[in-house]
């Protein structure tokens, strides 16, 4: 079961946060900082899975953004790892070469998609835009922590597109033949 989803940049600014457990704001802030500390020190040769408290974080890095999903330890790691990638592909298709700033300014679109893609895991949107909704499971105030406060801090990073990310094939994937 997913406990929370975080998208952070290298500097630790949160670009998207979704909580599926009840936390108060201080606890959320603490988790965000801890996740950032755990994930950013790892190098590319390491696994994409880190134990975190009594949970596990499955993460993947795209350009300057870390996509992290916190799940139970006995969940299927690879399925979540690919769910992240699937989500990024969807974002990429939706925003046409998605970059960090898209997530900042189009928060109202981006915030809709992760849960739908992670929870139902449909590769629904190959042909078009992602189904706009299906945010089941989001709860509490989706308020982003102060990390989000200033999108201007990282203009250079924001300009990098996610598509040029470390994991190849975000855009040039081999899509299945159209129906």
């Amino acid at each position: 079961m997913i406990r929370f989803i975080l998208i952070q940049n290298r500097a630790g600014k949160t670009r998207l946060a979704k909580w599926y457990m009840q936390f108060d704001d201080d606890e959320k802030q603490k988790l965000i900082e801890e996740v950032h500390a755990v994930v950013t020190v790892r190098d590319a040769k390491h696994t994409n899975f880190v134990e975190f408290r009594n949970f596990k974080i499955i993460y993947r890095r795209y350009a300057g953004l870390y996509f992290c999903i916190c799940v139970d330890v006995n969940d299927n790691n690879l399925a979540y790892l690919e769910a992240i990638h699937n989500f990024v592909e969807v974002l990429n298709e939706y925003f046409h070469n998605v970059c960090e700033l898209d997530l900042v300014f189009n928060f109202y679109k981006a915030s809709e998609s992760p849960a739908s893609h992670v929870q139902t895991r449909t590769v629904a949107s190959r042909r078009g835009r992602p189904l706009p909704s299906l945010r089941s499971g989001l709860h509490g105030r989706g308020r982003d922590v102060p990390g989000r406060r200033d999108p201007r801090d990282q203009p250079d990073e924001g300009a990098e597109t996610v598509a040029d990310a470390a994991v190849p094939g975000v855009r040039a994937a081999n899509p299945p033949p159209p129906p």
Partner: protein, 943 residues
Amino acid sequence: LPARERNGMRFNCLFPAFSSPGKSKEAEIKRINKELANIRSKFKGDKALDGYSKKKYVCKLLFIFLLGHDIDFGHMEAVNLLSSNKYTEKQIGYLFISVLVNSNSELIRLINNAIKNDLASRNPTFMCLALHCIANVGSREMGEAFAADIPRILVAGDSMDSVKQSAALCLLRLYKASPDLVPMGEWTARVVHLLNDQHMGVVTAAVSLITCLCKKNPDDFKTCISLAVSRLSRIVSSASTDLQDYTYYFVPAPWLSVKLLRLLQCYPPPEDAAVKGRLVECLETVLNKAQEPPKSKKVQHSNAKNAILFETISLIIHYDSEPNLLVRACNQLGQFLQHRETNLRYLALESMCTLASSEFSHEAVKTHIDTVINALKTERDVSVRQRAADLLYAMCDRSNAKQIVSEMLRYLETADYAIREEIVLKVAILAEKYAVDYSWYVDTILNLIRIAGDYVSEEVWYRVLQIVTNRDDVQGYAAKTVFEALQAPACHENMVKVGGYILGEFGNLIAGDPRSSPPVQFSLLHSKFHLCSVATRALLLSTYIKFINLFPETKATIQGVLRAGSQLRNADVELQQRAVEYLTLSSVASTDVLATVLEEMPPFPERESSILAKLKRKKGPGAGSALDDGRRDPSSNDINGGVEPTPSTVVSPRGWAIGAWGPPGATPSHLLLRTPSELGCREPPGGRLLRRPSYQGGNGDSSPPPPPRFVCKNNGVLFENQLLQIGVKSEFRQNLGRMYLFYGNKTSVQFQNFSPTVVHPGDLQTHILPLAVQTKRVAAQVDGGAQVQQVLNIECLRDFLTPPLLSVRFRYGGAPQSLTLKLPVTINKFFQPTEMAAQDFFQRWKQLSLPQQEAQKIFKANHPMDAEVTKAKLLGFGSALLDNVDPNPENFVGAGIIQTKALQVGCLLRLEPNAQAQMYRLTLRTSKEPVSRHLCELLAQQF
């Protein structure tokens, strides 16, 4: 789907300030305040806003909120947007509601109304938006308003696929939040049939829902097995192009496959032979596909494929009945152990850990020992190394114990600090469990202390002492080895502790050798004395007094040491007391008395290794899974005489421990000798709890009545049934309290997903704030016979009436269990007794003379009326008992103050027993009306 405006708004246009870098924070705040003023005036203006502007401004507010500024208006406009007919307007309205409106807002009625309208609208897009809003808010109130409607939408014949999908997920969300609100009914049968749906999205959502629901009522959903199997078989056998949109890098519907395999793990193997055959065929196909050359070089392809493979292996392990498949799974994982992808090596190690505990595959796992040892040495990622250490631990048995233990010891020298303690525990356990001869065991533990002394917790060295004490044949060797170890110029303090204890008990066994004659032993130990902490020095003092008994010739020297000013006038009370008592004992007592008092310790009662308990506490999943089920190694009657799954307790070496080392709650026994009370009280309270006769009578899982028996006492058994026992031990001081909960697994099967949580019913939320400091520490798995401990820190902020609830959920053999108990926290726990004279008492009594300040109750005695028992109960209740206040000596009068953070409530009470009528009259006066009534009720139940 209706046509929508694409990119209706661009925020960097709306907010130019944010897209141009280089502006200061002040400028941002200024800009935002200006914008807020503008929006406010637009909303307040006379001119009615059109939908677009309303949407635009609400969206701006949302953006400002997400930037971290507070928003205190615009809610009404957002609610208005809900009734718009335009998708984008509605969507922004719902987003604002989900993020910014909390459940107790007065707008909630309007919102619920809008949601109701949308749910009834038959417009699938609007229905979806409404469903998402319900799920996003997910509060109890939402559940109360809509939980009954959603199943109807879910199974209605005319619902669109996307609506069904949303409805299923929404229901899942509500069910997870408050299971009691979702009514079960005939719809459940129809949900199962959604597994046959044409639309894969619906199927995926339905699988998630069923997986969650079936944990509670496995029988209601049993029919899903065959449906899931046939669905799975269709996916697995389909060509990579069959499922079109649901094919991910040539893998057909990977996520759905994984979910179906997970659903099947909720049940035992299918009984129907045809279904089972089909399933086994599926599992074989997946294993076969793993051997085929990949269809794509992309990592996504192999990840998706392997996700299914690992889930398949989990299912095979879960069934644990197909030796053929188990061995194939093991071989497959063996290939992954050497794969160049770190992820795969990691997952293979993790999966193999569970395979090792199956009797069918244990031998197959053991063949990979060299690869695993190599991984332990060479992997760059610490989490992979840790998995390797786990696997070594799991695959260990008598045949390879020496090799594995020595490898782990070697690894320990370079291991990361983060995992050292765990490795130390594991080595200690393996050494004990599989020791062929005890000298090897003693050597191993002393090596542990030498290599990683800082990480050797007290459980480990307690344990070696227990074992040495219990085994006659190893005592001489232990004394000799420890004596040699102590001769190292620098040795760890734990070594000094072990050495002190062992020489104090068994030093006589090596005293014959002139190299380790009594004076040499003493001076060796005493040379370490000044470098040690207080706890160790206290232990050494005990060693010295034991020496006086063992070796009368050292008496003069030792008395000299004890008499030294640095001991007799030591600033530390414990040391001073020991020095004074021992000195007196040695000079006053006759040799006979001395010999009796200082006799060798009797053997410790055998019970589960305290180290094992510690490891389980430390690390729930994966730990000890192979070792403690005993299935694999039934002939283990070695050192420990076979580990019986008895309630675990941490046992400190009796008579030697001072309070500071003992486990939390251990009886602090500063006088280190074998006093009768100590012999009578061998177990620390944590252990005794579990032996107590059950008060509960072991009734079912239903939540028992509130525990009035805890009103007057703090310790005892809170709950017990056939599976689980919950003991509680608590202490309160002023407005603070600490509660230890002990969960004992009474079965021999592991509990999974064990999660105790503390919840507060409504009004309590603001009043009492139990901070479950170690809630996270409670392992998700509780092994058979094991006990886990949870600590709750409680602070009483205000007076309260209802206690918090403890909700415990876990899975026992696949079947989910849950129970809800009231925590034994009542307002009187925060009582501070107050002594006062009769005069004061009456003065205060008169001050509290308003009718609402008094609560009185006249009731019949339920128990024999015994003055002493009553007295004890009143004291346990927390008040002071005042003598000579009431003219009638039969009556009881008490006084106390209830301490909360916000206020203190003075409280006076009077209890008048009438022995003839077997009645009591209880009168309470406090400065707060509800407190008087509540206390009166609580106390009245006790007599």
